[in-house]
């Protein structure tokens, strides 16, 4: 089952990448990132089956960090929305050099 899991994981990851590059809505992009994280989680779990429980422990941590990240990220987006009334990333270019 390892190879098949890895296959699915890779596909999900690639879909996540495409989503990040294609969408302009900040929240959608964020969710694509979450998708990528999930794909990686799948990889870890698949390996855990063959190579020991460390993989599952790692998934545990990934999830925790993802939760924390989601909280902070969404807070940022809310603050951003308050300033700019939009989350369309094309209009948010204050960092323009």
């Amino acid at each position: 089952m390892l190879a098949e899991s890895l296959f699915f994981s890779a596909v999900l990851f690639a879909i996540g990448v495409v989503g990040v590059l294609t969408r302009r809505n900040a929240i959608i992009i964020f969710m694509c990132v979450e998708l990528m994280l999930n794909a990686v989680n799948l990889t870890f779990v698949a390996f855990a089956q063959t190579y020991g429980v460390a993989g599952q422990v790692f998934v545990f941590f990934v999830m925790t960090v993802a939760a924390a990240e989601a909280a902070v990220g969404l807070a940022i987006i809310i603050a951003l929305f308050r300033h700019r009334q939009t989350v369309n990333l094309q209009n948010i270019n204050v960092l323009k050099g």
């Binding site: 495409v18 429980v53 460390a54 993802a66």
Partner: protein
């Protein structure tokens, strides 16, 4: 759950949930409405939870549902609704066709590379005997094989993670609260 080598029942369900996950992901990426997209992502996560269970990671599957699908995605949906992004007048557009094609190409490239990389061989000595994970669960239950190492070898990481969560909470509150000077 204990299973024989690729019993048809097992394999069928494995592929079923795998395909559902991928299909949901594709749908998620292509939806215009953020709410629909979020819900499709929830679906993906459920499928992944099922896959975890099939891979002898029942505990992980459980917390996937509890934390990811149940907490994180809910927060996403709250924010979408808070910002009124589901409103038809706020529908987001993806970028143009050219972007999509190039992005597709990039994705394909990444895919290809991952496949190539996955060919690397891991030394055989690291392999556990087949069915080891299933036997562990049968002996100790689903949680203990994960919790044991968590509180022994990986205790430091555990503690740091808890600090991280604290920082995240404080940060999120600080960022999102209204300041009186802001017009809002």
């Amino acid at each position: 759950m204990p299973h024989g080598d690729l019993s048809p029942f097992y394999a069928f369900h494995f592929y079923l949930f795998g395909i559902i996950a991928v299909a949901s992901a594709v749908l998620f990426v292509t939806r215009k409405s953020p709410v629909s997209a979020a819900l499709w992502l929830v679906n993906t996560m459920f499928s992944l939870a099922a896959l975890y269970v099939l891979l002898d990671a029942q505990f992980i599957g459980a917390i996937q549902v509890l934390v990811y699908a149940g907490a994180i995605m809910v927060v996403f949906l709250f924010v979408i609704m808070l910002l009124n992004l589901g409103d038809p007048s706020e529908l987001s557009d993806a970028r143009g066709l050219a972007w999509k094609l190039v992005a597709g190409g990039v994705g394909a490239a990444i895919l290809a590379m991952i496949f190539a990389i996955v060919r690397t061989k891991v030394p055989e000595t690291l392999r556990l005997p087949p069915g080891y994970a299933a036997r562990q669960i049968a002996t100790y239950g689903a949680i203990e094989p994960v919790a044991g190492p968590l509180f022994r070898e990986y205790l430091l990481a555990f503690e740091i993670t808890s600090v991280l969560l604290l920082a995240a909470i404080v940060g999120a509150v600080a960022l999102a609260r209204r300041r009186d000077a802001d017009a809002g």
